[in-house]
């Protein structure tokens, strides 16, 4: 299918910074055809300038203040205009809450099928999803309109490229209907030097076994440059913010390495982490179900194991 097909990838950079997730979309898009990045941002040109190391053929730039001030709908509208112009085979969007909602509105607007939370996509735009809490792998295809697919970050190694050879400006007059909700303020997630949970390549999580003391979990995470996650037992107890909960009713993560500390491995927790590439568990109880998933398990006290591991990592630097 390659060469003849065009794939649009959405560059959504609310804070003006392009993340590596865009590089992943480009990498996936290349399998299907020509990759056209659609930038929808306040400073479209500034964002487009950051695409130079990715495998992107062309860029379409939509600039305007509406993208930040009216959230989802204007971005979907800009993308729909790009779809009308390019008639792409597929539109690829990063699978965040924002990305999925943009994809949802675009699917309605273009009367196209939608697949969310994909972890892979092939040359024929057949997407791989992991469903029912990660217990089942599904291959699905869109059979109506453009294939609109949202892909989880950390799903593929970013292939480098030479960036868009041409850029063009697409003027989109955002409709009143797309401006019905207004953003009055944004309190951005304090990154505190740590990567975002769903984007991190390493996640270190703490559970009830921390007994409320996340210091060793955080110290180990920092030595690894990791994000910090938590089980529901830990978030329910108020030990860690709910926004860091991993699991069925929290975030789904799929990092290269997931380290579960003092977490038993309940099915609802697994649902959010079992597609991680490598799983390490640290637990006092040799019978803890988390060990069934773990590639490497340490039966021991996290308050002894983690500080020693942190020291060992820092010593290697």
């Amino acid at each position: 299918m390659s060469d003849m097909s065009t794939v649009l990838i959405l560059v959504d950079a609310l804070d003006g910074k392009v993340s590596s997730a865009v590089g992943e979309l480009a990498t996936f898009g290349k399998r299907i055809g020509e990759v056209v990045a659609v930038v929808a941002a306040n400073d479209g040109a500034g964002v487009a300038a950051q695409l130079s190391s990715f495998a992107i053929d062309r860029a379409i730039i939509c600039t305007g203040a509406d993208f930040a001030s009216h959230s989802i709908a204007p971005i979907a509208e800009a993308l729909a205009a790009a779809v009308a112009k390019e008639s792409p085979t597929a539109v690829l969007i990063t699978s965040t809450a924002r990305g999925k909602e943009i994809a949802a509105r675009l699917a309605v607007r273009t009367n196209s099928g939608l697949l969310t939370d994909a972890v892979d996509i092939d040359a024929d735009a057949i997407a791989t999803q992991s469903v029912f809490g990660g217990s089942t792998t599904v291959h699905s295809a869109v059979n109506h309109g453009t294939s609109i697919v949202t892909l989880r970050s950390n799903s593929v190694e970013v292939q480098s490229g030479s960036g868009p050879a041409t850029t063009e400006v697409l003027a989109v007059a955002i409709s009143d209907s797309a401006k019905k909700s207004s953003v009055t303020s944004l309190e951005a997630t304090v990154k505190g030097g740590r990567p975002e949970l769903t984007e991190a390549s390493v996640v270190v999580s703490g559970g009830r076994g921390t007994n409320g003391d996340f210091a060793p979990v955080e110290a180990f995470a920092d030595s690894m440059g990791a994000a910090v996650g938590a089980s529901r037992a830990a978030t329910d107890a108020g030990w860690y913010p709910h926004s860091h909960q991993v699991g069925q009713t929290g975030k789904t993560v799929s990092p290269s390495l997931y380290v579960a500390c003092g977490i038993s491995g309940a099915i609802q927790h697994r649902a959010g982490m079992q597609t991680s590439k490598m799983i390490v568990a640290i637990n006092k109880d040799p019978e803890a179900p988390i060990f069934e998933l773990a590639d490497y398990g340490v039966v021991g006290d996290l308050f002894a194991v983690l500080p020693q591991a942190t020291t060992a990592i820092n010593a290697r630097k």
């Binding site: 959230s71 949802a104 509105r105 599904v138 019905k180 909700s181 309190e187 640290i282 020291t311």
Partner: protein, 251 residues
């Protein structure tokens, strides 16, 4: 799997536990603006539950009615079986348009199919303001406006809009109440209106598995993870872990 649709029946018949947060939020909004502080007739507002699902969904509907909602619409027809998010939002939008509401409140995602996209689709189809992933909701009937805190991975966005709006609420927005005995008794007398395909005015081809905008090619159980290494910490467990990670080039 039948006809390119995953069989979710085997997963859990219990209606989406997240929807209880939506029902509770609706009750709180009405109670906040009721002269008596109670929902129901005295408040001057009505809460209608709309549920699209098989026959067995009636139990969950009764439970939500016993929490205090006024009445319910149960959209139920074999023709709807296998509807994906696009078809589901199409049906819901038709029913909502027919009746007209000021505020549509949804849960964020179903426990089985993790598609938090139906509320956004509804907003798009209805042309209502999209106020999704709300961690808090305030409605001002006097100005017919709504304000929310939208909680997503990027942070907390404060948003405002004029009604009508589609709201989705995140888990933990509130503590859903348990139905009282009085509520359970009252729910028995509340009306559940059934709507079949013909009542929605939609064509059979527009909904259900046949109309699915996407289809499953195959579904395979995830291969079990290979047996891992398990070591007991006898004093150097942390260092041994780091050696393992180094071997795998993860540090």
């Amino acid at each position: 799997m039948a006809g390119g649709v995953l069989d979710r029946a085997s997963v859990d018949a219990v209606l989406n536990d997240l929807d209880e947060y939506a029902v509770e939020e609706a009750l709180r909004i009405v109670e906040a603006h009721s002269p008596t502080g109670e929902s129901g007739e005295a408040s001057g507002h009505t809460i209608t539950l709309i549920s699209m699902g098989p026959d067995r969904a009636t139990d969950a509907i009764r439970k939500a009615l016993s929490m205090g909602a006024d009445d319910a619409i149960h959209i139920c027809d074999d023709a709807f079986a296998g509807s994906d998010a696009l078809a589901t939002s199409l049906v819901l939008a038709e029913v909502i348009k027919k009746n007209g509401y000021d505020l549509i409140i949804c849960g964020t995602e179903s426990t089985d199919a993790r598609m938090s996209v139906v509320p956004a689709m509804l907003a798009e189809r209805l042309g209502y303001a999209q106020m999704t992933f709300a961690g808090s909701v305030t409605v001002d009937p006097a100005t017919s406006s709504i304000a929310i805190s939208r909680v997503t991975e990027i942070g907390i966005e404060k948003m405002t809009a004029a009604l009508p709006a589609v709201v989705s609420v995140v888990e933990k927005i509130n503590e859903p109440r348990y139905p009282s005995f009085k509520g359970i008794m009252a729910a028995k007398k509340k009306t559940i209106t059934s709507m079949a395909l013909a009542d929605t005015g939609l064509a059979a081809e527009a909904v259900g598995a046949k109309a699915a905008w996407s289809s499953v090619k195959d579904a395979l159980p995830r291969p079990p993870r290979g047996a891992g290494i398990k070591v007991e910490d006898t004093g150097n467990g942390g260092s041994a872990l780091v050696e393992f990670l180094a071997e795998k080039r993860l540090v």
